[in-house]
């Protein structure tokens, strides 16, 4: 497993009660994303646990894109990945963050 954490700038999530939400299942080529409350209101804290080694640059690019598309400031994302492709990661991030926005 390769593990790292990131803190990326993002528009603050307006949802005050952003409780833990879970999206996706850890299975081959798939991942789960747990959304919870983070630290600073204008940052998104992200923890990545992935079975694929050596793709940190790709992760950073996909995650930077996602938190720029959504209001993810003040949130913490924890990811368990079993070898998902960047497109699948991007889709799951959209699902997880849109689920919060829909409920806001």
């Amino acid at each position: 497993m390769e593990r790292f954490t990131l803190s990326l700038p993002s528009v603050p999530c307006t949802r005050a009660d952003a409780a833990a939400a879970l999206c996706g299942v850890v299975s081959s080529g798939n991942l789960e994303i747990l959304v919870g409350r983070g630290g600073a209101a204008d940052r998104c804290d992200i923890e990545v646990n992935t079975s694929a080694h050596g793709f940190r640059d790709t992760w950073e690019a996909v995650l930077t894109d996602a938190v720029a598309r959504h209001a993810a400031g003040g949130l913490a994302l924890a990811i368990n990945d079993a070898g998902a492709t960047p497109a699948v990661v991007s889709l799951r991030l959209d699902q997880a963050l849109e689920a919060l926005e829909d409920r806001a």
Binding site: M1, L22, G36
Partner: protein, 302 residues
Amino acid sequence: MNRPHRHSWFEADARARIAGLVDAGSFRELCGAHERLTSPHLAALDLPAAFDDGVVVGEATLDGRPVLVGAQQGAFNGGAVGEIHGAKLRGLFERARRTRPAAVLLAIDSGGVRLHEANAGLIAISELMRALLAARADGIPVYGLIGGSCGAFGGMGIVARLCDALVMSEEGRLGLSGPEVIETVKGVDEFDSKDRALVWRVTGGKLRRSLGDATMLVDDDIASFRDAARSLLARPVPARDLAALDADQRALAQRAARYAEARDGLDIWRVLGLPDPGAIPMLDAADFNRLLASLPSPTEAA
């Protein structure tokens, strides 16, 4: 079949199954993902973990009556039971003895013990069996639901048959050794695990319903599983005295004798007296159930 939109139980994950099974919005998860009760064994092996260790447990209502619900996540390591996964299910049955719900609903989707966890997984599943039986002995009915991609095999096949009643779809399979295990041990001539039609005829819901292992056969539709669970909940709690056990034992002995020569579900349907065994896999649940009900003695132990 008159439902305009079916939502497949087979394709849904554990959370979607629960959401469609119980009263809308009533589910409250216990030991949820945010608590991060992940497997120490998978971590030690440097393998991906899941925040819920592949099983969702909690409480809800069904038709307004309190129920406890557990659902295995077949996509995570084949729904296999590890130490944490098993402890969550065991805890669900121990909770049932304290809170006395109308039933425990167990959505099984598992190949059995998680082999990565070896003895810890074996112990977890035996503790789960003991807790399930203790809840039943206390008068809490336990209803199993099988319709996922992993079916119910290995230790979870045993757990399934410890339930008071089982609801299955044809796609949900039930057995002890799974098809791939049998093929590996005995060879492809004994059992071809790649032959899906064969696998369904031998382990699928229609055969299990025919033999009485499953209590109800439903289509692969979340609403059909919900309707089945509601009808089970409306029944009186099944008898579980010595006489009932003896009757079950006699029925199993008769069944073993009656189907001793059977090599395939088709043989069993032929012996049962069904007119066109080859056509049975193509029937939907309603037509199949009608056909089965038309037999003089439909099933051994339903």
